[in-house]
Symmetry: C2
Subunit: 143 residues, 2 copies
DNA sequence: TGATTTTATTTACCTAGGTAAATAATGTGC
DNA sequence: GCACATTATTTACCTAGGTAAATAAAATCA
């Protein structure tokens, strides 16, 4: 019997598969997906406060602290004190900046490969349906 | 600019949201999603070898070992020695069997809530598109 | 100003995924 | 039968998500 459970089971398995693929790609650079997510952020938006990072990535602060500590010791990022002395402002190192083009190309290649069987329309449709999962009850308009 | 990256980012965030919701539901029973997945397996298929469990759930053996150890100490499952003395056969305790109907109802309620805005057709469409992600290159048939 | 609250970050600890390697029982081939 | 390979499970350790509580700086307010 096929039940709705399959959707969540399949989603979970697909996500783990994608993360595994990405980690294998990133292994060449001694990186992991969570670190890549932060590099991507900083490349897009420039220097960010830690709070800005975890709010954007929608993860908790301690998760980000741990990943940043690792990235700092691996020379991917630096953390400077802000005007507000509670804050720490994160920016890319020169090393990270020099490596980013290669890393981005590698990730893009992987993403295109994973999506090779989906047309643009498929991808839009997929996003639409994904956004419906867990969304508030749709209001039926009358008239 | 909207890029294909959004699909993987969104998928990841949605999956974490779902797991968080499920864990909150399961908290009442002192359970977690990974433990629920195993309970569900055993309820569907009866007693299983550990290898059967992790192959079905598509996770690695050590992950399953850890979860089963916890579940055994919490009286959800028992592990018996098999004919092949390397194997351990996992089955539900009476306690687990007595609790399962309530747990299943709770999970089903959550799943229906998460999918309330998707028609059956939406759900089928979603599964079709999800299966296309990371699939082998589709062969174009001629003629 | 000084007490209190809020905010940013960290620390400690939990579940949960992964890999690599160890262990023990089973299967295989000479 | 015995050496060798395979298989099931475990152990050790890594990343990575979460919560709860601690700490320190900033903001608020009586």
């Amino acid at each position: 019997m096929i039940t709705t459970n399959d959707i969540f089971h399949s989603l979970n398995q697909k996500m783990r598969f994608i993360i595994k693929e990405a980690n294998e790609k990133l292994n060449e650079f001694d990186l992991y997906t969570s670190q890549w997510a932060i590099l991507y952020c900083l490349d897009q938006f420039g220097p960010m406060k830690q709070t800005e990072i975890w709010k954007y990535l929608n993860v908790e602060a301690p998760t980000t602290t741990r990943t940043l500590t690792k990235m700092e010791s691996n020379n991917w990022i630096e953390r400077a004190e802000g005007e507000d002395k509670r804050e720490r402002i994160v920016c890319l190192t020169d090393y990270a900046k020099s490596k980013l083009p290669e890393i981005k190309a590698s990730i893009q290649e992987m993403e295109e490969s994973l999506l090779q069987n989906l047309s643009n329309e498929d991808q839009e449709q997929f996003m639409t349906l994904l956004n419906k999962i867990g969304s508030e009850k749709e209001v039926v308009t009358h008239g």
